[in-house]
C-alpha cells in the first residue's frame, strides 16, 4: 500500500477563492470534496453557501435506510459510516447554507424497508438516503415520487429502476454507478485480463433476487458481445446462504474460463472460503462486481491462491495512491477511525457521495435563489449537477443516474492492512460503461458491434 502522506495545507499555489470556485463555491462543498484543509486561515466553519435572510437555523432532519446488521451489514455499515462522515463535515463547515446542520437518522433496511421509509416521511424528513438493496429500491422509488421528498439512493443499483419502475423520475436520484456500469466494467476487465480469445465458457453465481438476476443478465449480454463465450452454468444462492458447495461443485464440473459473481457482503466471504476449500480457483478465474465489498471481512487464508478480480464501483481508496491525493488520504484516515470500517469500500462512498450530491445541490440552489429551496427546486438543480468527493468528480446525469469512473483490480490480502486490497487497478470512464442518456442498457448493449 502506498501510504506516503503529502504535507498538510499544501495547496499547490491555488488561492482560496479559486479553490472554492473549483469545488462548488462554498466551504461545505470544499469540506465534502476533502479540500477543507487547503483553505487558509481556518475559515471553514463559517463559510457555508451564501445564506439568504430567510434560511432558518433549524436542523435538517434526514433519514438513511441501510443494512446495519447481519451479512448485508458488512457493506450496509460502510454506507452508514460514509454518510455520517459527510454529515459531520457539513456540520463542521457550518451546516447547509451556513446555518442548517443535518441530523441523520439511520434505520435498518431489514425485512420491512417500505414501512421504515414511510416512517421517515411521517416523521417529516426533508431528505432520505439509501437504500442498499435493489429490491428495496424498486419498492420505495414509486413512493418517493408520490411523496415528493427527494431521495438520493446510496445503492439499489438495479438497471431497470429508471427504465421501467420509475421511467420519468422527479424526486428519486441514484448516486452510485448502477448495475450495467459495474457489470460492463467487469466484462471489459475479464477481456482485458484474460483476452477475448481465451474466454469461451462463462459461469455465474449471483444472489437469488432481482439484483443478482439483473447483473447476470447484463453480464451475459455484455460478455457475448465482447467474446464468443457460451454460458455453461447460472446459480442463484439466496441472500445469506450458509452453504454454497453445490454451486461450487457445478463450477468445478464445468471448469469455465470465467466465473462471474455479484455476491456481496458476508456472502462473498462464505463463497470464497468454500470455493478455496473445494479448489475452485484451480478451475476458473472469478470476476465480480461487488466482491471487494467484503474487503474487511474475507480472511487472508481464503484469498491465498484465489484468482479473483473485483470491481469497486465508483471509488477505490488506493486510486489515486494515497500519497498523491490528500483528499483521499484524509478520507481514508477518517474512515478507518470509525467503528466497523477496516478499509473504506465503494459502499462507504455510496453513503458519502449520496449526502454530498444532495448537500452541494442545495448549496448551489441557495446561491441561485438567495433563499432555502423547495424540494422541486433542489430536484431541478440535482439534474445535471456536478460535484466533487475525495473519489473525484461526479455527475448526476439528467436521467437522475450518477455517472463516475469505475475501478477494478485483482483482489489480494494485505497483511499490513489487515484486509483485502486491489492490485494493478484499472480505471474505466463512465462513457465506456454506461449507455448514453435516454438509451436503455439493453438497447445500448445490443448496439455494440461484435
Amino acid at each position: 500500500m502506498d501510504s506516503t502522506a503529502t504535507s498538510d495545507h499544501d495547496n499547490g499555489g491555488i488561492g482560496r477563492r479559486q479553490l472554492l470556485s473549483a469545488v462548488g463555491g462554498s466551504a461545505v462543498a470544499a469540506a465534502l470534496a476533502g479540500c477543507s484543509t487547503l483553505l487558509s486561515d481556518g475559515e471553514t466553519a463559517d463559510q457555508g453557501g451564501q445564506s439568504g435572510d430567510e434560511i432558518s437555523d433549524e436542523p435538517i432532519q434526514a433519514g438513511l435506510l441501510t443494512f446495519t446488521r447481519g451479512a448485508p451489514g458488512v457493506l450496509g455499515i460502510q454506507a452508514q459510516r460514509g454518510a455520517e462522515l459527510a454529515v459531520q463535515r457539513i456540520n463542521e463547515a457550518g451546516g447547509v447554507g451556513g446555518q442548517r446542520e443535518i441530523e441523520l437518522d439511520v434505520v435498518n433496511e431489514g425485512s420491512n424497508p417500505l414501512d421504515s421509509y414511510n416512517q421517515f416521511i411521517e416523521e417529516g424528513k426533508e431528505v432520505t438516503f439509501g437504500p442498499i438493496s435493489s429490491g428495496t429500491h424498486s419498492q420505495i422509488a414509486p413512493e418517493i415520487e408520490k411523496n415528493e421528498i427527494i431521495n438520493v439512493s446510496t445503492d439499489g443499483t438495479v438497471t431497470t429502476l429508471y427504465e421501467e419502475t420509475v421511467p420519468d423520475p422527479t424526486y428519486s436520484f441514484r448516486f452510485q454507478n448502477y448495475d450495467i456500469m459495474e457489470v460492463v466494467t467487469m466484462a471489459r476487465e475479464a477481456v482485458e485480463r484474460i483476452g477475448a480469445d481465451n474466454i469461451s465458457t462463462v459461469a455465474g453465481v449471483n444472489p437469488g433476487y432481482s439484483f443478482g438476476e439483473d447483473e447476470m443478465r447484463v453480464f451475459t449480454q455484455a460478455i457475448q458481445k465482447l467474446t464468443d463465450a457460451e454460458i455453461v452454468y447460472e446459480g442463484f444462492p439466496e441472500l445469506g446462504a450458509s452453504d454454497m458447495s453445490n454451486h461450487i461443485t457445478s463450477i468445478n464440473n464445468e471448469e469455465p474460463d470465467v466465473t462471474f459473481s455479484s455476491l456481496w457482503g458476508g456472502d462473498v466471504t462464505t463463497f470464497v472460503r468454500q470455493a478455496n476449500a473445494n479448489d475452485m480457483f484451480e478451475n476458473t478465474t472469478v470476476f465480480g462486481t461487488t466482491l471487494y465489498s467484503a474487503a474487511g471481512d474475507v480472511p487472508g487464508d481464503a484469498l491465498a491462491g484465489a484468482d479473483i478480480y473485483s470491481g469497486s464501483r465508483n471509488y477505490y481508496w488506493g486510486k489515486p495512491a494515497l500519497g498523491n491525493w490528500q483528499p483521499g488520504r484524509e478520507l481514508f484516515d477518517a474512515a478507518t477511525q470509525q467503528e466497523g470500517v477496516t478499509v473504506p469500500t465503494a459502499h462507504y462512498m455510496s453513503g458519502y457521495g449520496a449526502v454530498t450530491a444532495w448537500a452541494t445541490a442545495v448549496e448551489k440552489a441557495i446561491d441561485l435563489l438567495g433563499t432555502y429551496p423547495s424540494q422541486e427546486q433542489i430536484a431541478q438543480v440535482l439534474e445535471g449537477h456536478g460535484f466533487f468527493t475525495p473519489a473525484g468528480y461526479h455527475n448526476m446525469a439528467e436521467d437522475h443516474q450518477g455517472a463516475s469512473n469505475s475501478f477494478a483490480g485483482q483482489m489480494v490480502y494485505d497483511d499490513d492492512l489487515g484486509a483485502a486490497r486491489l492490485d494493478d487497478v484499472n480505471t474505466y470512464a463512465a462513457t465506456e460503461t454506461a449507455p448514453p442518456p435516454g438509451v436503455t442498457g439493453s438497447d445500448w448493449l445490443d448496439s455494440w458491434s461484435a
Binding site: 446488521r69 442463484f236 468445478n252 464445468e254 462464505t270 476449500a277 481464503a302
Partner: protein
C-alpha cells in the same frame, strides 16, 4: 449440462452433508413435537445460539491447545478438541432448554396450541434480542476450525476433491444418528420417553414423572439444536437471522418424515439435502422450491408423512 461421475458423486456428498446438518436440527424439533406436542418456533434460534456460542468455545479451546500440530497425533488432538468444543456448546444449551420448559412452557400445556405457538414465537424474539445484546449486530465467524480441518487429507486419498470438513460433518452426523436411535431404543430413559409419547396417562399411572420427562426432552432438543449450530458454523458466519431458514427447512423435513418421527426426520433430511443438491446441479432456479415441492408431493400421497408419528419405533 453434462455432469461427470465425479461431480455427481460430490454433489451427492454435498446433499448428504447438508442433510445431516438438517437432521441434527430437525431431530430436536421432532422429538419435542412428538412428545410434548409443542411446535417450537424458537428452535431455529436455539440453533443460532449454538452457532454463536460455538465461536467463543472454539476460540477458547483452540487458544488453549494451539493450532493443529504436525503428524497424526497432533491432528487427532485438534479434531478431538473441536469435537469437545461442539459438545461443550451443546451442553451450554441444556440449561437454556431446561429453563424454557420449566418456566414458560409448563404453564400452558393444557391450553390451546395457539398459546404455545405465541409463546415459542415470543421466545424466538427474546433470543434474537439476547444475541444482539451479547454479540452485536455484525456477523461473526471462526476461521481456524474450517481451514485447519480442511488441511487433513481424506477424500484426496481416494482421488476425490472434497473438503475434509464436510467429511467430518458426515461422520459426526452418522454418530449422532446411531447415538439417538440407540438412546431411544436401548436405554431405559429412552424407553420411558417413548412410552410417554405413546400414552401419557398410562406412563403417569406407572410412576413416570411427565414433568421430568418433558423437561428432559426439551433440554435434549436444545442440546441437539446447539450441536447442529456448532457443526454448521465453521464454513460460514453466525448472523442474527441465521435461525430462520433452518427452522423452515426443519418443518419441511418433519412434515415429510412424519410429525414427531425421528426415523422420518432422518430420511426426510437426507431426501431434502440430496434432492436440493441435485436440483441445483440440474436446474439451479429450483433450489429454493425443491424441498417444498417434495413436501407437497408427500402430503398429497401420504398425508401422515413417510413414517407416521412418534411411538412404537423411534
Amino acid at each position: 449440462m453434462a455432469v461427470t461421475p465425479t461431480a455427481a458423486l460430490v454433489q451427492t456428498l454435498n446433499g448428504i452433508q447438508f442433510g445431516f446438518i438438517l437432521f441434527m436440527i430437525a431431530s430436536g424439533l421432532t422429538v419435542i413435537l412428538g412428545i410434548l406436542d409443542v411446535l417450537n418456533l424458537a428452535h431455529g434460534e436455539l440453533f443460532s445460539l449454538g452457532a454463536y456460542t460455538a465461536i467463543g468455545v472454539f476460540g477458547f479451546i483452540i487458544g488453549v491447545i494451539g493450532p493443529p500440530g504436525g503428524g497424526v497425533v497432533g491432528t487427532a488432538v485438534f479434531v478431538l478438541a473441536v469435537l469437545a468444543a461442539v459438545l461443550v456448546t451443546a451442553a451450554i444449551l441444556l440449561p437454556v432448554g431446561t429453563l424454557f420448559e420449566a418456566v414458560f412452557l409448563r404453564q400452558i400445556y393444557d391450553r390451546d396450541q395457539v398459546y404455545q405457538l405465541v409463546l415459542t414465537f415470543a421466545l424466538l424474539l427474546i433470543l434474537l434480542d439476547v444475541k444482539k445484546f451479547i454479540w452485536g449486530d455484525s456477523s461473526i465467524r471462526t476461521d481456524a476450525v474450517y481451514s485447519a480441518i480442511n488441511t487433513i487429507p481424506t477424500s484426496e486419498l481416494v482421488g476425490l476433491n472434497y473438503p475434509t470438513y464436510n467429511v467430518f460433518v458426515i461422520l459426526v452426523g452418522s454418530v449422532v444418528v446411531v447415538g439417538l436411535f440407540w438412546f431411544f431404543e436401548r436405554t431405559k430413559t429412552g424407553r420411558i420417553i417413548r412410552a410417554t409419547a405413546i400414552d401419557r396417562e398410562m406412563a403417569t399411572a406407572i410412576g413416570v414423572s411427565t414433568d421430568r420427562v418433558f423437561t428432559l426432552v426439551f433440554a435434549l432438543g436444545a442440546f441437539l439444536a446447539g450441536f447442529a449450530g456448532a457443526m454448521a458454523v465453521p464454513p460460514t458466519s453466525a448472523t442474527l437471522e441465521m435461525g430462520t431458514n433452518p427452522l423452515v427447512l426443519s418443518f419441511v423435513v418433519i412434515v415429510i418424515g412424519g410429525l414427531g418421527s425421528l426415523r422420518g426426520a432422518f430420511v426426510g433430511a437426507l431426501l431434502v439435502g440430496v434432492i436440493r443438491s441435485w436440483m441445483i446441479t440440474l436446474y439451479p432456479p429450483g433450489e429454493i422450491a425443491a424441498p417444498f415441492a417434495i413436501m407437497a408431493l408427500i402430503l398429497l400421497v401420504k398425508p401422515e408423512g413417510l413414517f407416521g408419528t412418534w411411538g412404537e419405533t423411534a
